[in-house]
């Protein structure tokens, strides 16, 4: 990580550059290239002292075949953002603004019945904990075959056949034998593979993967990440990977959306994000992440002081300012917008506000 150099790295880094944009900057929006475009999404939950904003005007996009990381800590709103895409916000939460455009069509405006044509068939979701997402009383084969039959009219026999093929596609050994296994007979990694197989049953274009490897051991995580990368390649699948783990994103994603306290605070091509994180929060997260072989003196990890704010009582101005190492007088006065830092790089931080003058040129030295 070093000084700002002219943006040679961003140019050919991804195919996604063209689609990276933000609701605050309609001019640069390239909706025709995006498969999914979330615009201005807000989700609130009722609270004792009024509605609690859990997702606040979040915007981002995913291009066909692209793998985008949606990163945040607990309470950042990342999982609810993902659930909103499929209209699955749990009650009493409710979407209060925004659009979820899938191939240009606003999913939030659809009736439940119409939405079902998208769920699974066009957009599928994989959850963190496959042990609870699978039904324990039915066999793996039955559950996957059900998923196949939910999307297409095929015979039970044919569906079972397809289920075996799907298990094979996700590299479960002896797929035909595994069809008759119950979820508890599979290991954690194999259950997650089975979940992914089920998600593929409808032949989706977009996979929402919500912390798909968080519950798994690191050697199994490596297998699942490899699988996701292979499926993308083979099926042209776009993936929105929701995770708290920046390292997982670095391994897999082309573009990264970072959320904090319900807001998108940075959106960048992965290369930029890891070399020149634009938002102080992203910088803090990257340096707080323990790295193998970093030769840091024992007990001298860089920490972000304080804790993630409670969405019911967010700090005034920029919600990150109480923890921010680069806080300025303006930061507790007003909330920053997303500013374009470089091509495809957006950060919600006054450091990048063009109106603040040249004192805050993009690409300060990283941590």
């Amino acid at each position: 990580m070093s000084q700002a150099s002219p943006d040679a790295t961003t140019a050919g880094a991804t195919t996604a550059g063209a689609t990276a944009s933000d609701a605050a900057a309609p001019a640069s929006r390239a909706a025709e290239r995006s498969l999914l475009r979330v615009e201005d999404l807000s989700v609130v939950f009722p609270g004792t002292a009024g509605p609690i904003p859990v997702v606040r005007r979040a915007s981002f996009s995913v291009a066909p075949g692209e793998m985008v990381g949606l990163v945040g800590e607990s309470g950042s709103g990342k999982s609810l953002t993902a659930l909103s895409i499929l209209g699955l916000v749990p009650a009493p939460g409710r979407i209060t603004s925004g659009r979820v455009l899938f191939e240009g069509r606003d999913l939030l405006s659809l009736a439940e019945r119409e939405l079902r044509a998208y769920r699974g068939a066009r957009i599928a979701i994989v959850f963190q904990e496959p042990a609870t997402a699978l039904n324990p009383v039915f066999t793996i084969g039955f559950q996957i075959a059900e998923a196949v039959r939910a999307h297409r009219r095929v015979s039970r026999k044919q569906a079972r056949e397809e289920a075996a093929e799907l298990l094979e596609r996700v590299a479960i050994p002896d797929p035909r034998q595994r069809l008759d296994d119950y979820p508890h007979q599979l290991s954690g990694g194999q259950r997650q593979r089975a979940m992914i197989a089920m998600a593929l049953a409808g032949g989706p274009d977009l996979l929402l993967a919500d912390e798909p490897t968080t519950a798994l051991d690191v050697t199994i995580q490596a297998q699942i990440l490899d699988l996701l990368a292979r499926l993308r390649e083979e099926l042209g699948l776009a993936v929105l990977l929701i995770t708290h783990d920046l390292a997982v994103v670095a391994e897999t994603c082309e573009r990264v959306v970072v959320m904090y306290a319900g807001e998108v605070v940075e959106e960048s091509p992965a290369r930029d994000l890891f070399h020149r994180p634009a938002h102080p929060y992203t910088r803090g997260l990257l340096s707080a992440q323990p790295r193998l072989g970093a030769h840091v003196e024992r007990g001298h990890l860089e920490a972000i002081p304080g804790t993630v704010p409670d969405p019911a009582s967010l700090p005034a101005g920029c919600p990150f300012h109480p923890r921010c190492a680069e806080r300025m007088p303006v930061c507790d006065q007003r909330a920053p917008e997303l500013y374009e830092v470089a091509a495809g790089v957006w950060a919600r931080c006054f450091l990048h506000d063009p109106e603040r003058g040249a004192d805050s040129a993009p690409g300060e030295p990283g941590p």
Binding site: M1, E73, S74, S187, G188, G189, Q190, D217, V218, T219, I220, Q221, A222, Q223, L225, D226, H244, D245, L246, A247, V248, V249, A250, E251, T252, A270, R271, F274, H275, G284, L285, L286, A288, Q289, P290, R291, L292, G293, A294, V296, R298, G299, H300, L301, E302, A303, I304, P305, T307, V308, R323
Partner: protein
């Protein structure tokens, strides 16, 4: 460090769990969660214990503080036969070894104010006279970076990181010699994890504690441990100084484990050994070397004989017939 007498000597420790199945709960076999483990803990060191789920690291940690009773083997704690202690004698010694748990939400009594939580051990072990306990609680809270007025609040008023600080304060209340921290940061957000790791390292040094730091996250362990043991299916497969273990891992499992850790750098995507398969069932561990079915360099001998821990050329010990043969693909170095 090796010149001084160890604080703890663990020898051939075994802990089995019976496995019962079905309506009648018939005994179907047993899991050897800890299967013959030996090591020493030197005063003042931080001993990292890493492994995947099912490796036995948590069971081992619990045996060390006598939350579980081992089935065989021995633990000498400061010269005392820990496993022979019973009743009042055990209770008295418990003051000297304390545990910090993984789950900062589940490990604190939600109905007990923090102050009482911290003063209770002082009373139980009769460490501080009643009129001085409040001051001692305030000092404990300060030690872990909380304000003294935290004493009057209940656990729910605190964030995960703050609760873990309370858990640490509770463990320190009895002024233990040994602290066993079982996955103390894995339930915390990354931005808070670093605070707790730093706190544990600082407290250990300030108070001269001996610490066992159990974690599945190798990068976290590298930032706090002086020595590291890697466990697989109930056994230690490699043990070495931190720098030795991370710079030149000798056991193929350690090499693979290190290479599986994702690194927050976009350039390193390709450099990974992806181990096939899952951790075998500890109920029926493979013959010979328990790692051989997944090992990239396994040979016929590995399925027949069980390797024991032997010194490696790098100065640690590893349980492998072919230590150092599996090259690490850019596990470290390559700093940008």
């Amino acid at each position: 460090m090796s010149a001084t007498r160890p604080l703890v000597e663990v020898r051939d420790l075994v802990k089995r769990f019976p496995v019962r199945r079905g309506l009648l709960q018939r005994l179907k076999g047993e899991v050897r969660a800890v299967d013959g483990v030996s090591f020493d803990l030197h005063p003042g060191e931080c001993f990292g214990l890493v492994g995947e789920s099912g490796s036995g690291k948590t069971t081992l940690g619990r045996c060390l503080v006598r939350l579980l009773d081992p089935d065989a083997g021995g633990i000498l704690f400061d010269g005392i036969d820990l496993l022979a202690l019973k009743g009042e004698a055990l209770r008295r010694e418990r003051r000297r070894f304390q545990m910090v748990f993984q789950d900062p939400y589940g490990s604190l009594n939600p109905r007990m104010r923090v102050g009482r939580m911290l003063s209770e051990p002082l009373a139980v072990h009769d460490l501080v006279p009643p009129d001085e306990r409040q001051a001692r609680v305030a000092r404990l809270l300060e030690q872990v970076g909380l304000s003294p007025d935290a004493a009057s609040r209940f656990p729910h008023a605190f964030s995960g990181g703050q609760r873990q600080r309370i858990g640490i304060a509770r463990a320190l209340a009895t002024e233990p010699d040994l602290l066993v921290a079982d996955e103390p940061v894995s339930a915390l957000d990354v931005s808070v994890q670093a605070q707790i790791v730093n706190l544990l390292a600082r407290l250990q040094d300030e108070l001269g504690l001996t610490q066992v730091f159990i974690a599945h996250d190798l990068a976290v362990v590298e930032h706090i441990a002086h020595r590291v043991a890697v466990m697989y299916l109930g056994r230690i497969v490699e043990l070495a100084d931190r720098d030795t273990l991370f710079a030149s891992p000798q056991h193929p499992y350690t090499v693979s484990l290190l290479s599986a850790v994702p690194v927050p750098e976009v350039e390193r995507r390709q450099d990974r050994i992806v181990l096939p398969g899952d951790l075998p069932s500890p109920m029926s561990p493979p013959s010979g070397c328990p790692f051989h079915p997944r090992c990239p360099i396994a040979r016929p001998r590995c399925a027949q004989e069980r390797p024991v821990l032997e010194p490696t050329q790098k100065g640690g010990v590893a349980a492998c017939f072919y230590p150092g043969e599996l090259a690490a693909p850019a596990v470290r170095g390559l700093e940008l």
